[in-house]
Amino acid sequence: MNEFEQRLRRVPMKPLPAGWRAEILAAVPARPAAVRGSWAGRLNARLHDLLWPHPQAWAGLAAAWLVILLLQVSQRDGTPARAEKYVPPSPEMLVELRQQEQMLVELLGPIEVRDADRSRPAAPRTQRMCIISG
């Protein structure tokens, strides 16, 4: 630090106003929970009071739960029961399914035609009636 810096450093800063101490500390809540009027604030305060005395113990417990959860997930993925759940359809079943699909198409086909006929204008029917009567 050179001479100029030393010179600046010797200039004292303005002192803290004496009256502020009482004012500022009086504005500080006596208990953390006292200033927390909201439900979330009170819950947060309760949790803090509960967890804070032994944060490492709680962190250890959380880590243990995490390990248990991970083990559970990894085991579930590899279980035979889950593997058995998915059975690929056999060729016979596929043929059966196709036949059922075909049958459904056939059943639905005439209905669509009938619906289409119903929506047609009445003129052709009159013509057919004329042919029949003629």
């Binding site: 450093r9 800063m13 803090h48």
Partner: protein, 169 residues
């Protein structure tokens, strides 16, 4: 959990330095008071904040700096006239010697002309005696940035105060 007693201890040990830093940074005594009060209210509400902190002063300076930066951002958005007044504030103790008083006023004005972040580095280096590593931690910078800001700031102060400084010597 730190109760009122430990808050009082924190106040007695650090409020003076926090006040000087905040006053020099914000250049506004009312803002400084609000920031200091908010800081202690925050510490009372969240007593865990200081758990495991080795350097209380540096940690509190960091909290104070962050709060001051937020305040100045809000102020910049709504009130530009305050910036003009900020340069007039003298964060130094009054001196009995008239020459010294002039020097302190000039120094205050020169500091007021520095960008706030440069002023913060200069303050922490000169009046808190922190290393660049410590300043970097407090202000959330790299040590190199802290050092370069200090050099720029000091050069500006030197340029502005040289005639007066040489006269006083």
């Amino acid at each position: 959990m730190p109760g009122p007693t430990s808050l009082e201890r924190l106040y007695d040990e650090h409020a003076g330095a926090l006040f000087a830093f905040l006053l020099n940074f914000t250049r506004d005594e009312a803002d400084t008071r609000d920031l200091l009060q908010d800081l202690f209210i925050k510490l009372a509400r969240e007593p865990g904040r200081l758990a495991g902190v080795r350097e209380e002063r540096a940690f509190l300076m960091r909290l104070a700096h962050n709060a001051a930066v937020d305040l100045m951002r809000r102020r910049a958005a709504r009130d530009r006239t305050k910036d003009a007044l900020a340069a007039d504030l003298n964060p130094f103790a009054p001196a009995d010697d008239p020459d010294e008083e002039v020097f302190r006023r000039e120094l205050a004005a020169a500091l007021g002309e520095l960008p706030a972040e440069q002023r913060a580095v200069v303050h922490l280096k000169l009046w808190e005696g922190l290393t660049f590593e410590e300043i970097a931690t407090v202000l959330g910078l790299s040590p190199n940035t802290a050092a370069s800001r200090y050099r720029y700031g000091l050069d500006k102060l030197r340029g502005r105060l040289r005639p007066l400084y040489e006269e006083i010597q």
